[in-house]
Amino acid sequence: MSPVFEVINLRKSFGGLAVTNNVSISMAPGDRVALIGPNGAGKTTFVNLVTGNLPPDSGDVRLAGETVTRIGAAGRVRRGLVRSFQVTRLFQEMTPAEHVALAILQRDGRTGRMFGNFLKMPNVMAEVVDLLGTLGLNDLMHRKVREIAYGQQRLLEIAVAMALKPKVLLLDEPAAGVPQSDTGRIEQALADLPADLAVLMIEHDMDLVFRFARRVIVLAAGAIIFDGAPADVTKDARVREAYLGSYANASHAA
Amino acid sequence: MQTVFSIAVDALAYGMVLFVISIGLSVTMGLMRVVNLAHGAFAMIGGYIASYAAHDLGLGYGIAVIVAVVGTIVIAIPVERFLFRRIYGAPELTQVLMTIGITFCIIGIANYVMGPTLKTIPLPDGLRGSADLGFRTIPVHRLFAILCGLAVAAALWYTIEKTSFGVKLRASVDNAAMAAALGVRTEIIYALSFAVAVGLSAFGGVVGAELLPVEPYYALRYMVTFLVVVSVGGAGSIPGALIACLVLGGIDTTGRYLMPEYGEFFFYLAVIAIICVFPRGFAGRMK
């Protein structure tokens, strides 16, 4: 299958520090990739570069064959490249329903409409209720975001990304701060994603990584040191030392 | 060539006077994140006190300056305690409302107490008259203002960047609750910085009085100038404010020399151009 998402020789440095050092990745529709690596390895920076939130020093990003390196962040989202944020970025004074509705309307190109209220648009509301329902946020739907607990905000962050119906989804630590009881919901949501969607997930929760990923990429000091099957990653000495520690000894990767 | 030098000297002198007067505002706005539109009002109070001390009490210039700075701080203490403390960390527009209100009150009171006429602060003999620079003369008090500006800039920069007080202040501004959780007594830090800022504005009001004479409407008349200088420099940055004052002073002076009838155009176009190139000001602290 032709890749839906390609990154070619991407480089970025801050001052003297090479945070992304000649990284190339390609993903096909339906891929489920986990991107792991030590703290400060450059994972979030990679996402920022790919989504256009940071300008790269050199290298290219391609979406479904089209080079988008020179297209702004919003343009890339419209072409199907969507991300979530490591530290939640939500609108504190708005409700979850509004968040999701806004994403749906934007996806359908209707945010320019200057009349009508989304609460009165049955097709929009149905989707809102449905999506929030899958993530268990329905009873908080009309609360202001600043009043809901952090873990619930993380779920909302995922809901917004999903409402945009992406082709390529980049999730930056979607489960950080979400209790084990609710990671199940996230997992379920991820499992329910359309099969042809390519997903790249950054995560430090190895249990989640191994349940989710069919391919693991390890980034250290800005460079890819491993790219392969989950079963092999625990066997890689460098990865064990730099990242996994004793986790590799336990047999979670089964 | 002589003209160029001459303009440069005027620009430097004007810029430094601007710096002395507005640097206090840079402290409140950039470091305490309070949009303090009452800055001019405190400068004006300083001017009035100095004028009163020098004219009516017959004190010397140096003493008058000290009395003005101390007196303004004393007046500002209750204002801080009861009014400013309520708006630390509040939305900027709320701060605008409060500080404009304070300014209106101070204007009203100054008009009532001191009358609507201009007040001057008599200079000591040493600062009067002009100094000869070889190719032209320059008023001595402007040289004095330049020196004051440099001294203030150096002292402030050191305090903010190098002392533990500076670090604690910046931490409190970034996240007051967290700073408190780490044991920083934010109220005291705020009160002290406020006192410093007010003292600086009073000092600026006195030193700059030759250029911006003291009268009740002072508090509003120069508000825009102060705001512009501080923002173009990047609020909270001492070197930024210094550069901004020199650049804007230079543009203003040159514009006024070359085409006074379009002076305003020239100045504000330059401001727009600078901000378009430096959207955070010359040295804006990152949020």
Binding site: R89, L90, A103, T111, M114, V160 | V35, G281
Partner: protein, 335 residues
């Protein structure tokens, strides 16, 4: 479990909708009733009330960019003044004296100014943005001062006149016509804006206010949306400017001044940002208070106004309307 929740939610939404519809109707009714009261109680003061309406339009327009989009500006009178001069100039120089056409000219002038201001002001954020707007208003002011053959410079543009509305209602000394004309314009604008701020576009703007980067990550362009809002805001301010020009028959440089810009911001914050009724109540309360105290003591009233502003911050930090609304919302929740 999930199903039970769903039904609960779908029933909750309509009640919200009814409530907000009801509140809209009540708001419009309140404006009408107050307008009627104003007419009956202060028949001798209609000129002032008309001026209040004109400034209300300016403050509403400011609320659109400041309250709803989070754009800090101290130069919003540029839009108002451009509207006023546009209406004034078509009348004084081109003999177009039909009040509706003059209003249209005001809308066009305001929108054009909105385009220019939006283009410049949206290039920065926070304090520098504020300074951009200050620079702009001074440029506009200076430009109008220089173009004195068009604008009358600092002497003001005189010679503006307006025909009777629909050829019937003449603009008289007592200001009846101007007042009614103003009330109708205001109502029309408020109803349209009400629709606007509820719409998907309005929601997008609120999102931009809170986090423009997040909006970009949702695929929308904050800049384009804000530009659009700026032009709309210009049109609204232009209506206010035109009303001012029509009712007073002069246009002065003050309508393009920093002072007016700053005052309108004060009125907006006084009422409460981010709600149309906040903008309206702020304007009405500030201007009536100012008129009252300045008539009572023309010499020292500024202190009273200052005290009012301080008191509002201390006791109603979200603005008068904002705080009242929050209070009632809490009461309702407690029930």
């Amino acid at each position: 479990m999930t199903i039970a929740m769903n039904t609960q939610i779908t029933t909750a939404a309509p009640t919200r909708r009814h409530r907000s519809l009801g509140r809209d109707a009540a708001g419009i009714a309140a404006i009408l009733v107050l307008a009627g009261f104003g007419y009956l109680l202060f028949p001798d003061n209609l000129a002032l009330l008309t001026r209040v309406i004109a400034i209300s339009l300016l403050v509403l327009s400011l609320d659109l960019v400041t309250g709803y989009c989070g754009v800090a500006t101290l130069g919003h009178a540029a839009l108002f003044g451009s509207g006023a001069y546009a209406a004034g100039i078509v009348s004084a120089h081109y003999g177009i004296t039909d009040p509706l056409l003059m209003t249209a000219a005001g809308v066009a002038g305001g929108a054009a100014a909105g385009l220019v201001c939006g283009f410049v002001v949206l290039r920065a954020h926070g304090l520098p943005q504020l300074v951009l707007s200050i620079a702009l208003i001074h440029l506009f002011h200076e430009f109008a001062n220089k173009a004195s053959s068009w604008t009358g410079g600092s002497d003001g543009l005189s010679g503006v006149s307006a025909d009777p509305v629909f050829g019937i209602f003449e603009f008289d000394l007592y200001g009846h016509t101007a007042y009614v004309f103003g009330v109708i314009l205001l109502l029309a604008v408020v109803i349209l804006l009400r629709l606007l701020v509820r719409s998907p576009f309005g929601m997008l703007c609120r999102g931009i206010k809170e986090d423009a980067l997040r909006i970009r990550a949702m695929g929308a362009s904050p800049k384009a949306a804000l530009m659009k809002m700026y032009v709309i805001s210009g049109a609204v301010a232009g209506v206010g400017g035109a009303l001012n020009a029509i009712s007073t028959q002069v246009v002065g440089l003050d309508s393009l001044s920093f002072t007016l810009s700053a005052e309108s911001l004060v009125m907006l914050v006084l009422g409460g940002t981010g709600s149309l009724f906040g903008a309206l109540s702020g304007t009405v309360i500030f201007m009536l208070f100012e008129d009252y105290v300045s008539a009572a003591n023309p010499f020292h009233w500024l202190t009273m106004v200052g005290a009012l502003l301080i008191a509002v911050v201390l006791f109603a930090p979200k603005g008068l309307y904002g705080t009242a609304a929050a209070f009632f919302a809490r009461r309702r929740e407690a029930e």
